[in-house]
Symmetry: C3
Subunit: 276 residues, 3 copies
């Protein structure tokens, strides 16, 4: 039922982001701020971060998109996030929720449930997080998932329909669904798990991509395209690092390089290889 | 009217910092803490960071210089910054203000206006930020500038005279002025815009350099020398990354490498090339 | 009196961590969050970070170990740390204290003295910090030490006995002692001082290693093994960077690579070279 994302679609949104250089307001966790900003810059977007509630409202209104990640949430940040989401909604800007470790810890679980009622444009999470948000599971182990994305697909569809959102559940395969139409991406590499914040940065990239969508159907394509571009950059980086007997340090550097230098041919070749 | 900084001057301050290893107390934004610390270490300085107001006063008194960056300002940090600036002033230590996105957002705009009255030793900003501080402009777009440094030069001089400070406005060309004497640096590379926090780290490096100045005229030379060293390291790093078809990930690594391994000959050659 | 750690012991704990992938809850400073997480991932552990006091208690109870670093301590974090330590103690989980710049600044000095009474499993610090905690010295200069590890060995033993803890004092040589038995490691490289947060990340790695120990004597061996593995990765990285005329940027990347790709043969060869 899940259709493989076409390389033409991915190339289309990859070009849109390169042209638009969307300003992505990232309210994210302390661990990944620098990394997220560099991923966005490498991918052609422009990052903006801040922490004060009085400023978050103003920036959300002018940014192209908002990305919310609850990884190191504290009470003041939760307040700033709520204001930013309300401001983005009023301004008609898309926003993405990354519900890191939801279910395991109390403050973020409460905020995620609150934000779910605000219909995020996209929720991007690992299988455990999506299962928890859909009300069907147990909690993961910190930021790691204990379930596969295949196991979470039904929950993702359920959640998308219930919360009127798009759900991107990422893992060995990525599924992006609005509850009715589902796209699949089979690209990626296990080394992406060995660098902190790859999922967090992907959520911000999804925000950049959906800011170029003109309607909800395009937003589904755009979110899937972000996942494809990131996964393919991961494949390119892994191949280079493994060819040279290097580890996670070089892989992270090559991932930024690959996002910078990616071209249509590479995108097409790596996506079509998965179709055979 | 703006005079090109001589390579002898840059080499002089580059050597002073290498010899003195100044302790730079950085109160900076969440996105660039690690990067700023590593830039300072690579350049021969010693970084120190902390966040509590009660500790900021004590550290500012013993550090060689203080660097203030309002990129992710929140209320408690603003309080800690004010205490640190007052403490640095009392101890006769130089301090640098980096007014990230001033004008765009309320809290930082208010703090920057307050700190302006304390006569920072140097203000380092992009053209948009300098125009806003000088009361002549509109706001930028997040951390990016929408004006060129040439357009901001008159405002920089005006601001330097009015606030009794040195203003370093950086862009394609860098101008460093005390309102009467102006130095220009034509080194640098566009890839510096593709890594987050290069401007922020430069502000901290300016603090390291001005800590070795004996008077205000030397402080102007020192601030310009910091801009020259950083720009030239950027040129070295860009050349290596582009020669190898790499992107912003490798460029950032090579920038730290270039700051570590820079020597007098490279500084002289790259500055003199710009004089022809 | 200090015995050189055997390579068999280091290999044993290196394998245990690879097998167990312990979940290390790091409450650390703002400068090193990303770097610490990537060091843990490269070394085969799983990092978890958060900042809210209400969540710190819950996570400390389920994590394999807790690592406390006071580098950018603020009042709310101090509260969260106390709750986490109490929770770890109740759950019988090991915890490590990294007393960054203790003695120099008031808030952290008070917290470190409080936490000392809770008998940390391990205290990992530089010589100046250990001398201060043992009540025998003066303060360091920010995060840097002004004394050698040899000078701090007696204080380390004294502190270990007094606080019923294991003390790891790291420098040119590393000493790990419970006050009665002392292990020494002569591996390492000066370039480790040119990257921010190497000591902080080592403290988190010590937490990962001691989580695999079955008793206090094993904890001493485990803590020393963490120091050995990290120092040897540093040697590998330094050799590669210096062979290529690179600086601190490449060194940091290669350090993560070396932690990822390290094998028993390399560990044994580099440790035995020091025995001759």
């Amino acid at each position: 039922m899940a259709q493989l994302l076409s390389s033409q679609t991915a190339v289309c949104y990859w070009q849109r982001v390169r042209t638009a250089t969307p300003l992505v307001f990232c309210m994210t966790n302390d661990v990944v701020t620098n990394w997220t900003a560099n991923v966005l810059l490498a991918a052609g977007a422009s990052p903006a971060m801040l922490s004060d509630p009085s400023e978050s409202e103003a920036l959300a209104a002018v940014a192209s998109a908002l990305s919310i990640n609850v990884g190191t949430l504290h009470v003041a940040q939760a307040e700033a996030m709520k204001k930013a989401v309300a401001s983005a909604q009023r301004a008609g800007k898309p926003w993405v929720l990354d519900p890191v470790a939801v279910g395991l810890l109390p403050l973020r679980t409460e905020l995620c449930r609150d934000l779910l009622r605000e219909s995020p444009t996209v929720i991007r999470g690992n299988p455990s997080e999506i299962l928890v948000l859909a009300g069907e599971a147990s909690q993961g182990r910190g930021a790691d998932s204990t379930q596969s994305s295949d196991e979470a697909l039904a929950a993702a569809k359920h959640l998308a329909l219930g919360a009127k959102t798009i759900v991107a559940v990422t893992g060995a395969s990525d599924y992006i669904t609005d509850g009715e139409r589902t796209l699949r991406i089979d690209n990626g590499h296990p080394l992406l798990q060995r660098v902190t914040g790859t999922g967090c940065a992907l959520s911000a990239l999804v925000a950049a991509y959906v800011s170029t969508a003109l309607n909800r159907s395009e937003a589904l394509d755009a979110a899937a395209s972000a996942c494809a571009v990131f996964s393919i950059a991961g494949e390119e980086a892994a191949q280079k690092a493994l060819d040279r007997n290097e580890g996670s340090g070089s892989f992270a550097v090559y991932l930024l390089d690959a996002l910078t230098t990616l071209d249509e041919t590479t995108l097409e070749k790596r996506m079509e290889r998965k179709m055979k």
